[in-house]
């Protein structure tokens, strides 16, 4: 029982962070059709900035959140304007753009490592370290913060994409950029908006998860693997898929952590990714996307 509750909570809180990262990947992908491999580094920057603003400088938590959202929005925008847009304008192949985002990830990671060193920094959780005890298991309040905020973000994203004209425009731009332009949608600007939004979401994910792991320039890669795997397992571009994929990977990682070893988490991630893709090449919720976005 004890280990069961422990596994569930670890799975849910890490799963929520993966889901948030997968969501941020989807936000960018489902409008611009760019797979942005710098998302893991955005998450890392969010964690590092969280450490700087909250743990080191001692700013109020809400202010740290606002500052991180602002700066990560700018980082996302900068990546779009400096790396992605010039290639889109020249009609570069998708694969070229993808590789360019790898480059951006490398630059961000190296800059962070040069600026902050390779140290793993423990980030201070906003609700303190005193655990709740559920079923005899001590649980860090941060776990609930991660899960709660992720749920809130999901509801917000659902509302934005299904109930607002901006959401419709974001979907239209992804589906047919020319069709979107002729009704007056500024596709270039929407792409910029999604990169800023993707930066903010990933940054917040990093801020939330860093008290449960640590903040260091290298943690982006680990999370990027899980975030992309979550997005792909769930079905690229699918919102429910991001959540399902995140939770499945969270569970796999938690089980490995509890019963085998933390180092086998990535191994489990890839095995799961392969298994899901063998059975459903489009991911769990991918078929619906294929049907919706397929040729008619």
């Amino acid at each position: 029982m004890v280990s069961f509750v422990e596994v569930v909570i670890t799975a849910a809180s890490f799963g929520a962070a993966y889901a948030l990262l997968a969501l941020s990947i989807n936000v960018i992908y489902s409008t611009s059709t760019v797979l942005n491999f710098a998302q893991g580094e955005f998450m890392m920057l969010g964690g590092m900035l969280g450490w700087v603003f909250y743990s080191a400088l001692g700013l109020p938590y809400w202010l740290a959140v606002v500052l991180i959202a602002g700066s990560m929005g700018l980082v996302g925008l900068a990546e779009y304007l400096l790396v992605v847009r010039p290639l889109l304008v020249r009609r570069a192949a998708d694969i070229a753009i993808m590789i360019a985002t790898f480059g951006a990830a490398y630059v961000i990671r190296t800059t962070a490592a040069l600026g902050m060193g390779r140290v793993e920094r423990p980030a201070k959780p906003p609700l303190g370290q005193a655990p709740f005890v559920i079923g005899g298991v001590p649980i860090l309040p941060q776990s609930f913060v991660v899960i709660g905020i992720t749920c809130a973000v999901l509801v917000l994203a659902w509302w934005l994409y299904s109930r607002t004209t901006l959401g419709l425009a974001l979907r239209a731009a992804a589906f047919d950029p020319d069709g979107a332009q002729i009704v007056g949608i500024n596709v270039d600007r929407l792409n910029a908006v999604t990169f800023a939004g993707g930066g903010i979401l990933a940054g917040i994910a990093g801020l939330l998860i860093s008290p449960l792991s640590y903040a260091s320039p290298w943690f982006g890669i680990t999370f990027a693997i899980s975030g992309f795997a979550a997005a792909i397992v769930g079905g690229l571009g699918s919102w429910p898929g991001a959540v399902a994929g995140g939770l499945i990977l969270g569970l796999a990682n938690a089980l490995m952590l509890r019963y085998v070893s933390g180092q086998w988490g990535t191994f489990a991630t890839f095995i799961l990714l392969l298994l899901v893709l063998y059975v459903r090449p489009t991911g769990i919720f991918g078929e619906r996307i294929a049907a919706k976005f397929g040729t008619v």
């Binding site: 239209a172 047919d176 020319d178 069709g179 002729i182 009704v183 007056g184 949608i185 919706k292």
Partner: protein, 258 residues
Amino acid sequence: MNTASSFLSVSGLSVSYGQIRAIRDVSLNVFSGEIVAILGANGAGKSTLMKAVAGLVPPAAGNVEIEGRSVSRLPAHQRPGMGVALVPEGRKLFTPLTVEQNLRLGAYSLGQSASRKLVGERMDEVLETFPVLADRLHALAGELSGGQQQMLAIGRALMSKPRLLLLDEPSLGLAPRIVEDVFATLLALNESRDLSVLIAEQNIREALAVADRAYVIQLGKVVIEDDADILFDRKDIEDVYMGRYKDGADREVACDDR
């Protein structure tokens, strides 16, 4: 011809794709309230011309003016705001979205300030023009038949209350009876002469039957320009299609006009 009263004025327009010049030195006018047809075979440059007027391809030379104002440097997404709406070849509907959502997006250029009421009024007008869409408001655009999709594409364009409607091959892939319906609707829309229409077609007879004037383009150049009824009576009109149009079979092939 008096260009002062023309709604659309294209002068000396050339468009290239890489080394290939798709249209060269094309000049034409659409006067307010007119229906003008662009006729030509597959690959003659009709689609390129329409895309250039809509801003989807940049001109290599020449100028596009809307009501005397040059729009050649204006990006495509700003042209609906100038009163120009394109019904593109292949329709380019948002097939994963519903009919209603497609129509709502058609009003996107009216801006965030456009009230629900205004968008609702536009939608009522469009649904009055195409009653069949009213029954299918919540269906996905991709589930509609070809004819319904064409009506939705025109309806979406009308949502922005355009003053010039650009139609690129509206009859492509449609049954003859549906084509008749579409052209009859165009005539009805144009009846009050508030709406000008520029229509690119391979289906010459149908297009000439509704048009006031027509331009025939061949290999990217305007070769004939005349009143529609005069062209309609010309027996050699089909010959300018370089024999490609003879059996009409290629009409069914959704070929990229580029």
